[in-house]
């Protein structure tokens, strides 16, 4: 009886495996289509993909589209601006976040719950709804169209504070007390004892801050003209101006997404275990 059941089930299971593989393959092809098409088109003369389809003969590979895109918009200086904004914002968000999280976890003080409540409140404020007052302020202090002006409203963010606070709260208080009794100051206890004990969450905070800085669009668009445009603003202007030649546009998108594509390809596991799991706590 059992034998007949297994022998009858096995071929059906194999068929199910093949069907599942084909479904995954089709789904992956659909998801991959925009990535594949944009990368292939970027390295071919314009019109080839439209004429020959999305699996063209790679005989006529060219870098002309990349030359054209760096010439038509200032993608190179924009890249430097984006790197500066990411560096500034990520460093500031992680440092201010770690300092605040430390103060919210280890020392006991009056008003601690209120301070944490204010941080939580900022998490509920939609970012795009508060740009006008920040635009007034940043313009008034003369930082329009500067790297500092792009980064200034985002030197602290609620989420890294929240994430690091949850992580620090799981560190045994005895470890902190021991380091304090050894004569370590608050800063040394934080950077030499607490942060190394929470390395996965610190990594998650760094990746979150860096990605949100790199991907920022609405605010950089508003607060810059041409002096401190980021790549995200640059690529959107390219889409508006080069709509007639997708190959040049695709070359631009390839340049903009290469750093984050590398992050996904090289660290997909880290993203699942860190970022994806982290956001659920």
């Amino acid at each position: 009886m059992t034998a007949t059941v297994t022998s009858r089930r096995r071929p059906r299971l194999r068929a199910a495996t093949v069907v599942r593989f084909l479904v995954v393959l089709v789904a992956a092809a659909v998801v991959f289509f925009p990535v594949w098409t944009s990368f292939v088109s970027a390295f071919l003369p314009s019109g080839v993909v439209v004429r020959d389809g999305v699996l063209p003969w790679p005989g006529s590979l060219t870098l002309r589209n990349f030359v054209a895109v760096t010439a038509s918009v200032h993608l190179v200086p924009q890249y430097l601006v984006s790197v500066a904004v990411v560096t500034l914002q990520t460093t500031a968000q992680v440092v201010t976040g770690a300092l605040a999280a430390y103060a919210l976890v280890f020392p006991r003080w009056r008003g601690r719950a209120l301070a944490f409540g204010l941080v939580l409140l900022t998490l509920a404020v939609p970012g795009e709804s508060i740009v006008i007052p920040n635009y007034e302020l940043v313009s008034a202090i003369g930082l329009r169209d500067t790297v500092l002006g792009v980064a200034l409203p985002y030197l602290a963010a609620g989420y890294p504070v929240f994430l690091l606070r949850q992580a620090f709260a799981a560190v045994p208080t005895e470890i902190w007390e021991a380091s304090r009794l050894d004569g370590a100051g608050d800063l040394r206890s934080l950077f030499a004892i607490v942060m190394p004990a929470c390395r996965p969450e610190v990594t998650t905070a760094v990746i979150w801050s860096a990605l949100s800085a790199w991907n920022g669009f609405f605010w950089p668009l508003l607060i810059t003209d041409s002096g401190a445009r980021t790549v995200q603003v640059g690529i959107s202007q390219l889409a508006a101006s080069e709509a007639s030649d997708p190959s040049v546009l695709f070359a631009g998108t390839v340049l903009v997404v290469v750093p984050t594509i590398l992050l996904v390809v090289l660290a997909q596991r880290l993203l699942v275990n860190g970022l994806a799991r982290g956001v659920l706590h």
């Binding site: 976040g97 430390y102 659920l280």
Partner: protein, 304 residues
């Protein structure tokens, strides 16, 4: 409060008292920045919404609810509200349901599963602006690769960006595609966190394939699904880059969202109107708060 809790422990309070109580001040950099750049702007936005604007956008005189009445009696604003909500729900629905399917399919052993997982994560590498730029190339009217590819398999693609209904779908597809990457990462983490014993027990009871997914896995993954639905809707209600790159709110206002209208009123080509733009911002805050509450009511408690 601090002393009563510490006092239960005999030796510690004394040793702690000798240490300078400086640690609490470390909260100040983050707290002050958040007060100045998040909470103050929220209050200021409400203040601006009650004022008229001069020619460069600065507030002039208090006009009470006049800006609100202007906007609420404009039938165009009702359309903006509906378009924003439709785009947010479509984009989130596409991303979350497709990612749930992909994460469940890859739970079992599939040939090349690791490679497929990386492919499904790739959209996460794209920002709203860069994904929209890619889709601008795909949707381009005469030289668009999407419609020429669809034509090869016998499908007659719509005029993506010039038809009012297709344009909403175009925005939702671009949004759904780039949000799919993050949703897949989160749901993969969730499906891996399901205890193997639970799955084995269900399989012993004869549940396999779809029944296992529907009755066991999805309920366990519910907090992640709720989290993605809520955060996806919140970011969807703030859709801007896709509109700015793909349609500029058109055709004929068919894809004008809250944030795009805010942008046009405050920073567009006309005279800047911070007063009315701030009304849109206040409405955005209220709608997001309301939708969040409704979704938590519908989909269960806040256990995400």
């Amino acid at each position: 409060m601090a002393d009563t809790t510490a006092g239960t422990d005999g030796a510690r309070p004394r040793s702690r008292r000798r240490m300078p109580a400086t640690g609490k001040w470390l909260v100040l950099p983050a707290l002050l920045l958040l007060l100045v750049f998040v909470l103050r702007p929220l209050v200021r936005t409400v203040e601006l919404s009650f004022h008229a604007s001069d020619i460069v956008g600065n507030p002039t005189r208090f006009v009470g609810l006049a800006n609100y009445l202007d906007l609420f009696t404009d039938p165009g604003f009702l359309r903006v509200t509906l378009v924003t909500i439709v785009i947010a729900l479509l984009g989130t629905g596409i991303a979350t349901s497709a990612a749930l399917g992909a994460a469940l399919l890859l739970r079992r052993h599939v040939l090349g599963g690791g490679l497929f997982a990386v492919v499904f994560s790739l959209p996460f590498a794209y920002s709203a602006a860069s994904a929209s730029a890619v889709f601008a190339g795909l949707f381009a009217p005469s030289v668009g690769i999407l419609n020429t590819t669809l034509a090869r398999v016998g499908i007659d693609g719509p005029a993506w960006l010039s038809d009012p209904v297709a344009a909403v779908w175009a925005i939702a597809l671009a949004t759904g595609w780039y949000e799919f990457g993050f949703a897949f990462l989160v749901l993969t983490a969730a499906v891996r966190a399901v205890p193997p014993e639970t799955i084995e027990a269900a399989q012993l009871d004869g549940a396999g394939g779809w029944r296992l997914a529907a009755r066991i896995l999805v309920p366990i993954m519910r907090p992640s699904i709720v989290f993605l639905t809520v955060t996806g809707t919140i970011s969807g209600l703030q859709t801007f880059a896709q509109i700015q790159v793909l349609t500029r709110g058109g055709p004929g206002g068919a894809t004008t969202t809250f944030v795009f209208q805010l942008f046009q009123l405050a920073f567009g080509n006309g005279t800047p109107d911070f007063g009315r733009a701030s009304v849109v911002a206040v409405v955005l805050v209220v709608v997001i708060a309301a939708v969040t509450v409704v979704q938590f009511r519908l989909f269960g408690r806040n256990d995400a």
